[in-house]
Each structure stands twice: as C-alpha cells, then as structure tokens.
Symmetry: D2
Subunit: 132 residues, 4 copies
Amino acid sequence: MIKHTSHIRVRYAETDQMHMAYYARYLDYFEVARTEMLRAKGMPYRSFEEEGYLLPVLEAHVNYLQSARYDDELRIETTLDFSGGAVLRIEYNITREGQSIATGYTRHAFIRASSGKPCRPPKRFLEAIGQH
Amino acid sequence: MIKHTSHIRVRYAETDQMHMAYYARYLDYFEVARTEMLRAKGMPYRSFEEEGYLLPVLEAHVNYLQSARYDDELRIETTLDFSGGAVLRIEYNITREGQSIATGYTRHAFIRASSGKPCRPPKRFLEAIGQH
Amino acid sequence: MIKHTSHIRVRYAETDQMHMAYYARYLDYFEVARTEMLRAKGMPYRSFEEEGYLLPVLEAHVNYLQSARYDDELRIETTLDFSGGAVLRIEYNITREGQSIATGYTRHAFIRASSGKPCRPPKRFLEAIGQH
Amino acid sequence: MIKHTSHIRVRYAETDQMHMAYYARYLDYFEVARTEMLRAKGMPYRSFEEEGYLLPVLEAHVNYLQSARYDDELRIETTLDFSGGAVLRIEYNITREGQSIATGYTRHAFIRASSGKPCRPPKRFLEAIGQH
C-alpha cells in the first residue's frame, strides 16, 4: 500500500453554471493525483506506456460531499492498494481546509499494449510497492 | 420509473492517447442522456433551474466494459427511479451495436437554489413520473 | 470549396460559472462541425487516420459575439477552402435562431502519420472537393 | 503592461488519440496562465467577480507550432496589455525546454455583471498595471 498527497486548484474551465466544479472533473482530479503519486514513487505513468503497458480504468466511483468552487485549493490524498493479479485499486479523499469535499476510488488493470490482455505489473511497480 | 434512449457520437476531443474515450467523458455522456430523458418527458432540466431548483449529483459510478472509440455511435438507455424524498437515482447502459460498453448510475438531490436545502421535487416532476 | 450545416446542443458540462458555454468549448464545436462535414462529403475523418493521414491544427481563431447558453440549439455553418499544397482552411459561423454567436476558422495540414511530414491530400479528398 | 510566467503539466485527460494535447486545451492553459498572473499581481480574478465585474473573452487565437505531449512540463509567458477603455489584450507564449510550442492571444472586456455593459476596469486593476 502506498500513499501520496497532491494539491490542485479549481480552474474556471472546470466550473459549471451551478458555480461549482462540474461532477466529471473530479475524475480528472483523481487522474492528476494518481499520476503525481506514481511519479513521486519513481514510476511515472508515462514510462509504463513507453514500456508497453496500459492501465485502463475498470471502474470509477465518486461521492460528492461539498461543492468545490472556482480557484479553491484542494488537497487530494491518494492510497494505492494492490493485492496481486493484474488489478489495482486507488482511493481518493479530496479536502479543502480540512473539510471533506469528495471521496472515491478507481480500479485499473495492467494490460499489455501489444496483446490487449491483462498481465502482471512490471517489476518496477512491484518493487515500488514492496512486493517484489 | 421512466426510461429513455439517447444516441451520442464520440468526439475527437473526448479521446485520449489510449485511443478511446477518456474515462471522465462517460459522465458527460450520462448527463446528455439524462438531459434528453427529462426533455422527452416534458420537463427540461433548464426549466427546473428557472423555477429555482437545482439537481446536484450526490454520487456517480461507472463500470467500464469495452472501449468506446472515436466516431463510434453509442446508444444510452437511461432509467430514472424515484421512491419519494428528495433523492432520485438514474441508471445508464451504454451500448454499441448491441454490445455493452459501460454501465453506471448517478444519484441526485432536489435542492432549492435559494436555501441550498433538499426539497420535494416540483409537482411537474411528480406528475411526469406518475406519482402526483 | 465545400459547405455543410451542423446542429449542436450546449451541454451542462460545457457551461461555466458565467452561465455560458466556456470559451474553449467553441473549438470542440468547430471539431464536431468539420467532422460532420467530412462525413457528409463521403470522407469521414476516421478513414483518413486509418489510411495513415493526420490533420493536425496549425491555427485556430474565434470571435465571440453573443453568449451561448445551456441547452441552446446552435447551428454551425462550415466552409472548407483548399487551394493546393498540404494546408486547408475551414471557416465556421455559429448562430442561434438566426443571430450570430461566434465566427472563426481553423487551418490544418495533411501529415503522413509514418513520417510526420506534410503531404498532398489523399485522392479521395481531392475528388470530394472537385480538384482531382 | 505586466508580465508573468506560469508552469503547467499536460494531463492525460488533455491528450487525444493523436498523442498530443487536444487543440482546445491550449485555451484552458491560457486561462490558467492569466488567472495566475492576476493573482500574482494582487488582483485574483475571483475577486473581480465578487465585486460585480466579469471579464468575458471577445476573441481568442492560437498558433500551434509543436505538439505538447502527455506529462510535458510547459512554461507559459503571459503579457497583459491595456491601453484604456474596457478592453484588454493578453498574449501567451508556451514553451517546453526553451522550444516554442504555441503562441496566441485573448481579448477581454470588463463588463458590469448587473447591467451586462462594458465598463472601466476597477481601480485596483488600474493601480496594479500602473495606470491609476
């Protein structure tokens, strides 16, 4: 299990006429958070694709608790959980000044780009999460 | 319970470098589908906001089964379920040529824009779903 | 020179807190309009990429005249102009009930995907625009 | 005339199947850059809206010179030019490791939210750009 904390600022482009971040944008925020987590752990997602792996999303879930507003600075706590196989689960907790804004998770599969088939994670990933 | 079927075509803007519709875009598709369902049932969402109601999303969920590709024509079956109170649940089934691409749901609350408080749905909504 | 007319409805996802379609979304609308024009003329953009051509954008311009609002039905008149070489220019005029909302243009180059180099348009394109 | 430099990292959400940042996303980047410039100069855009001003875009232009790729770190140099009246012009130069990726500009009008009419900029803005 690995953890990481990211920060993001709500862009005007991400607001809607309800004066809050549009609900689909939270999935963009989740992506930024997991990208930064992977980079911080020495395995940028870009390098996975360069090595022939893809990590498509199998499932995504968001609970919306409070509105995120334009220009808000959000904190995202990300937790990656891997228990073997090809699938990993990432949990997200978005807060603003200590108050919970949204929680959620995504599930991803390691896929070999050449075959489109699920596969074991690259060795580098297993080392980074301490399961080599 | 009411049902509706919508059609959507995947835009280039919605693809990512994995050559499929980016995972957050499915929530945009869900929104288009529920907007069209409400309009088809004689209660366009726009009119709710004009009458002082908002319908923010409480929860969203997507299961990704197959990739949607650029220019694909997708069919979205939408089912709205309301069992009283302020909350409604909408289910979505996205298919392409009979094959399931994604399923999911959203939960929404009727909110009075002036107070930000949950409220009973407008009478027009209750009539449309046969619960007046 | 070829012409085409498309229709588009403003999605909630495309609004911002100024209660209008966000300014970058007009470039998405332009893309939908030119995609539909190419399909209507028997040369879907998808088939260009399948045949090894890309059509990246060199330049984009938008003049914003009136706000487009949520759920508005917009009409987009698209005009493609090609005067030889690798570059084509497409002009757009977005209207709502006869009133001009925005105008603009994009310039694109035909590129061979394998080399990344500009190239002559495919024969099918030249035939469609009457320049074979 | 005021200047500012911002940094941005290309998100996966912003790529398209041509393996580059989608052309409309550059307008999102421009917005992030001008937002950060205004904040750095002590006049966050958020505060303009809170004081009853809007700054809608009149015109936008982008020249695409090189592709921006997923995870690229981009530098955006922003220059604001104001020569009186209600209109201001902002120029953008996006680079990656010293190489120019895109240039462009936007033109905006100060509008009073209550009337929708163009107006003189707030005093705070004139002070910040040294024209009080």
